[in-house]
């Protein structure tokens, strides 16, 4: 049926290959060499030694050995810690998402003047530049031990992530819809309400749920440096060599995270 395909009948064979992503061969191979060179240098300079890994294994085995069976007896301590963590996470997500929407607008090139855009991007960049643990250390120093430091930390964390992605979502909206609302005589806020928000709403809800998920995890981590929640309890149990209690905490933590992931996955699926 396909006996006379064009190439067969014309008698001329034209070949085709996908052009390389980096056209200049010198640049391309220099890049390969640079990557390989970096790995060699990094492995040599960081003294990654097989010996130390081998020594570490038996120590890890002892710790896990002492952790079994997990000790769930100190339930009230555990429940208190987890409840506090969840409270921190939810409150921080709520405040963080509201601030992120405001900052997202300020940091969207297509809706604000350039100067405002630069300030907005700057704030988001600062919020993103530190890991929550570092932010938590600063806030614990500033406002003292406890959940307040945790909430402030996670608000900053939320702004960094949700704010950036909101700004990018706003920059990708269809300009035609904005044009139509402006043509009908709508000012800045009416354009936001009628042309910008409707377009980014599904994205915003998805991001908020993801951030809640993320904050639940992070709230346990920032607790380790004294910002409230279950992290503190976990750290204390390690310090007192109560590895069985620590394992119990870790197991519950895994359970909660799996549960929240399943839930948020379900909700996000329903959105699209």
């Amino acid at each position: 049926m396909s006996a006379d395909a064009p190439s067969a009948s014309s008698g001329q064979q034209r070949t085709w290959r996908k052009p390389p992503a980096i056209a200049n061969p010198y640049v391309r191979y220099a890049l390969f060499a640079a990557v390989a060179g970096y790995f060699v240098w990094a492995i040599l300079s960081l003294e990654i030694s097989w010996q130390r890994i081998m020594q570490g294994i038996p120590r890890a085995v002892t710790i896990f050995g002492r952790a079994f069976p997990p000790d769930f007896s100190r339930r009230s301590l555990m429940v208190d810690g987890f409840v506090e963590s969840i409270q921190i996470a939810i409150l921080a997500t709520f405040i963080g998402v509201i601030l992120s929407v405001l900052l997202g607008i300020l940091a969207a090139r297509n809706v604000v003047p350039r100067l405002v855009y630069l300030v907005g991007r700057g704030i988001i960049a600062v919020a993103r530049s530190f890991h929550p643990v570092i932010v938590a250390i600063v806030f614990v120093k500033a406002v003292g031990f406890g959940p307040l430091a945790g909430i402030l930390t996670l608000v900053v964390y939320s702004i960094g992530f949700v704010g950036k992605l909101m700004a990018e979502a706003i920059e990708e909206i269809d300009a035609g819809q904005v044009e139509a609302i402006r043509a009908s005589g709508g000012g800045f806020f009416k354009v936001l309400l009628y042309a910008v928000f409707p377009q980014v709403l599904p994205r915003q809800v998805g991001l908020s749920i993801y951030q809640l998920d993320s904050n639940l995890r992070a709230s346990a981590v920032v607790g380790i440096v004294g910002a409230g929640g279950i992290g503190g309890t976990l750290m204390n149990s390690f310090r007192r060599f109560d590895y069985d209690f620590a394992l119990a905490i870790l197991l519950v933590m895994i359970a909660i995270i799996l549960l929240s992931e399943a839930l948020s996955g379900r909700i996000r699926q329903g959105l699209t």
Partner: protein, 284 residues
């Protein structure tokens, strides 16, 4: 209605002139069709009239008011008296048909009314009336992106009419539609123009449709008016002049993919320029 455009020029950034020292006078009602190949400046001309695009020089007056000098609230007040319909409909996809229609009243309500969708009863009556007129009153709570192309453009027309405009700008309203639907939309625009005594400026690719529906035809080429007369005056020679040195005669049927045209338009009007325009407007 008297629209007076006087030596209007526009360039995007440091690019070439899209409109060159253009003069146009439109008085009374009826449809004025603007023809010309992609990139001739048709869209830019319409957008200069309601200042979605900032003219580089020249003046535009509507009923004696100098549009080019308006700022802030005055500019928005002028915009609400000029309705506009678009090639890609530009409905807000995720809002309902009724919300889209009522958005035509945004220039009249305050921010709280807009946010809470509490529009005056008269607006709602008007919306239902117009939706019935175009046969879409049963779709009020449907999301705009669930409608067909023809239905969406009818919503676009209703949204523009909600503004009770003095002038209607139609930027290739049928270029994204199939030939049959195109004719329906043009008939709708024609009927409304007659009923409401509403002047319409219609950008259109299809010359035979321009002849059929317009009372006056303006031919644009590389940003200058090269023809201005009645449909009867537009003979082969004039048509050749309008489309000379540009691809396509413009007289073929609506087979050109809309996406291709949109891309051609976009090529002419770089995205960065469009963004800059949006920001410039922000500061007014």
């Amino acid at each position: 209605m008297i629209l007076d455009i006087d030596s209007l020029s526009k360039r995007y950034g440091n690019g070439a002139l899209v409109l060159k020292d253009l003069d146009l006078h439109i008085e009374g009602s009826g449809i004025t069709a603007i023809i010309g190949s992609s990139g001739a400046g048709k869209s830019t001309l319409l957008r200069c009239i309601n200042r979605l695009v900032e003219p580089s020089s020249g003046s535009i007056t509507l009923d004696g008011v100098e549009i080019t000098r308006l700022k802030g609230a005055e500019l928005r007040g002028m915009r609400r008296s000029i309705g506009m319909i678009f090639q890609n409909f530009n409905l807000v996809d995720r809002l309902s048909v009724m919300e889209n229609v009522l958005s035509g009243r945004l220039g009249f309500v305050n921010l709280f009314q807009a946010a809470s969708r509490r529009y005056p009863q008269s607006d709602i009556d008007r919306a239902y009336g117009l939706l019935e007129r175009v046969g879409l009153h049963e779709y009020v709570n449907k999301r705009a992106d669930t409608l067909s192309g023809g239905q969406r453009q009818r919503v676009g027309v209703v949204r523009a009419l909600m503004q009770e405009p003095r002038l209607l700008l139609a930027d290739e309203p049928t270029a994204s539609l199939d030939p049959k639907t195109s004719v329906q939309i043009l008939e709708l625009i024609g009927d409304i123009s007659r009923e409401l005594d509403l002047p319409v400026l219609l950008n259109i690719h299809n010359v035979s449709q321009a002849r059929q529906f317009a009372q006056r035809i303006v031919g644009l080429r590389f940003g200058s008016i090269i023809f201005d007369g009645s449909p009867a005056d537009l003979d082969e020679a004039a048509l050749d002049q309008v489309y000379e040195g540009t691809a396509g005669t413009g007289d073929e049927d609506d087979w050109t993919p809309a996406a291709g045209r949109a891309a051609a338009d976009a090529a002419h009007r770089p995205a960065s320029a469009v963004k800059r325009e949006m920001i410039e407007d922000r500061s007014t």
